[in-house]
């Protein structure tokens, strides 16, 4: 299968693959922006217990967490133009990238809405009561008291979602988008050095993941400045081995729900 293994190709493929890095990051950034927006919209009815909308957002989250992203990609690529055609909008000429970002955005939105909900719930109820007690309005209490604390709790889970999204973008090649994976496949097919192409592809993904993880860790530390390290002694959550940094109980709760997957209807 293919030409004999040649280590030098791994390095030769790097610059060629890096040309498409921008597209991969564009998909990640675009979907993240769409996802944060969608996540908020979907989380609100569930946080404020709006009767009918609550049910809708439950079904939305359940669907996007309960079906593979690959199926969702195809579903939107083939389905969205037909559904919008019923409403008289023609998007069959829209670029593939548009469908890719929409799908990843809606998918990320489902995961983020759960994160947003969990981290807002994680903020102590007494905090809001205290805010009301000093005369803040509902909006003020949210934006000044709840939001900054919830953000800090959400960052670890958010960072998991971002990394999962980065890895999921490798599926965009199935719709013919020339991002990192698509480019690696083309290079492999051109030179018949498939293994080398995929090794350099994997290395690039690895480096981006590590960098993103490090950046988000910094953001988390910055957001948690207000919080004194809380010892996690006592109860079932005591750990036998020392963690790199003492973490609050609230964060452990938020972390526990970090995995991707699951429909929860």
């Amino acid at each position: 299968m293919g030409a004999p293994f040649d280590l030098s190709f791994i390095f030769r493929f790097f610059p060629k693959l890096l040309d498409t890095l921008g597209l991969t990051l564009l998909i990640v950034a675009g979907s993240l922006a769409a996802g944060i927006f969608a996540g908020f919209l979907v989380a609100l009815p569930r946080m404020y217990n709006v009767p009918v909308l609550k049910r809708f957002s439950q079904v939305y989250v359940s669907f996007f967490r309960g079906t593979p992203i690959l199926i969702q990609l195809f579903l939107f690529y083939y389905g969205l133009p037909e559904i919008l055609k019923l409403a008289g909008i023609d998007i069959s000429k829209a670029p593939v990238l548009f469908f890719v970002i929409i799908t990843y955005g809606l998918n990320t939105g489902a995961f983020l809405s759960e994160t947003i909900r969990a981290s807002v719930t994680a903020v102590n109820r007494g905090q809001i009561e205290a805010a009301y007690a000093v005369g803040m309005t509902g909006y003020q209490a949210f934006s000044r008291i709840v939001w900054p604390q919830a953000l800090a709790v959400a960052v670890p889970v958010f960072s998991n979602v971002v990394l999962a999204l980065l890895k999921d973008t490798s599926l965009a090649f199935t719709l013919g988008v020339m991002e990192l994976t698509g480019k690696a496949q083309t290079l492999g097919a051109l030179t018949q050095h498939f293994v080398e192409a995929y090794i350099s592809l994997a290395l690039i993904y690895l480096v981006i993941s590590l960098v993103l993880e490090r950046l988000l860790k910094l953001a988390e530390r910055r957001l948690l400045r207000h919080e004194q390290p809380v010892s996690t002694g006592g109860g079932r959550f005591r750990l036998w081995f020392r963690l790199p940094r003492a973490r609050s109980y609230r964060q452990l709760i938020a972390d526990a729900n970090a995995g991707k997957g699951g429909a929860e209807l």
Binding site: M1, G2, F5, S62, F63, R65, G66, T67, P68, I69, L70, I71, Q72, F74, L75, Y78, G79, E82, I83, L163, K167, D168, T169, S170, L171, T181, Q185, G188, F194, V195, Y198, I199, L201, A202, Y205, L206, S209, L210, G235, R236, F237, R238, L239, W240, F241, A256, N257, G259, K260, G261, G262, A263, E264, L265
Partner: protein, 236 residues
């Protein structure tokens, strides 16, 4: 083109026979991944000299790269490696004899192993250290303490995360189409290619996956309830 509701049903029926393939891939990768993950987690927790670092590197690499690259690397790399070794030592083994689904099994097991190892590690770490000390104080050896005291409790703590991993592997198994294994996703493509009703076929496939996922969630809830029986009452 109108949305053809009856074709969703037709596609649904035609995709059903592909469910076992998807489930087998999921099951094999989860079970093999659990064994790999357990070994990797123990190597890291006990800081076994070389193995511990190797396990860390393995987990970092796999979790930092997409599942698709693992599959492609195994699919293109393993035959080259095996054929070279086979030629070197004269095993008389040809990589062409590996069935396509074998590549999916191997690669997904490796992927699942890394994710499972994190789940298992956090489960083991969540068990109170006093439990291990109590086991030692009644004279158990380390393997006995692990097997009888730590593992059961760690398992019950990790059930939700394990279920997420299983669901993740179920969804990940859709990638098997890249190595020409006919799972639910590939079957939907095949069904649709006869009349170009891709949307309808993928709705059917999505419904099947949704159903399977909800089923796993339900099963998990039952298992979790059963597993946590020992833990009821008290202050928790």
């Amino acid at each position: 083109m109108k949305i053809d509701l009856t074709f969703i049903w037709t596609a649904f029926l035609q995709i059903l026979p592909a469910i076992p393939t998807t489930l087998v891939i999921t099951l094999v990768s989860v079970l093999a991944g659990f064994v790999i993950g357990l070994l990797a987690a123990l190597a890291r927790i006990y800081k076994v000299p070389v193995l511990g670092q190797a396990a860390s590197a393995y987990v970092t690499f796999i979790r930092g790269t997409p599942m698709l690259t693992h599959l492609l690397l195994i699919y293109f790399g393993l035959p080259v490696l095996l054929d070279a070794l086979s030629a070197q030592f004269g095993w008389g083994f040809k990589s062409a004899s590996i069935p396509m689904i074998g590549f999916a099994f191997i690669s997904f097991s490796i992927t699942a192993g890394a994710y499972m190892s994190e789940v298992i590690r956090s489960g083991l770490l969540a068990v109170d250290r006093g439990q291990l000390e109590a086991a030692y104080s009644v004279g158990m050896t380390t393997p006995q303490a692990l097997r009888r005291i730590i593992f059961p409790q760690a398992l019950s703590v990790s059930i939700p995360n394990l279920s997420n991993s299983v669901i993740g592997m179920l969804h990940g198994s859709t990638l098997a189409f890249t190595v020409s294994v006919v799972d639910i996703n590939a079957k939907a493509q095949i069904v649709a290619s006869t009349n170009w009703k891709f949307f309808e076929a993928y709705i059917a496939a999505a419904l099947i996956f949704w159903g399977l996922t909800l089923l796993i969630e339900r099963l998990t809830a039952v298992i979790e309830k059963r597993m946590n029986l020992y833990n009821r009452g008290g202050i928790v």
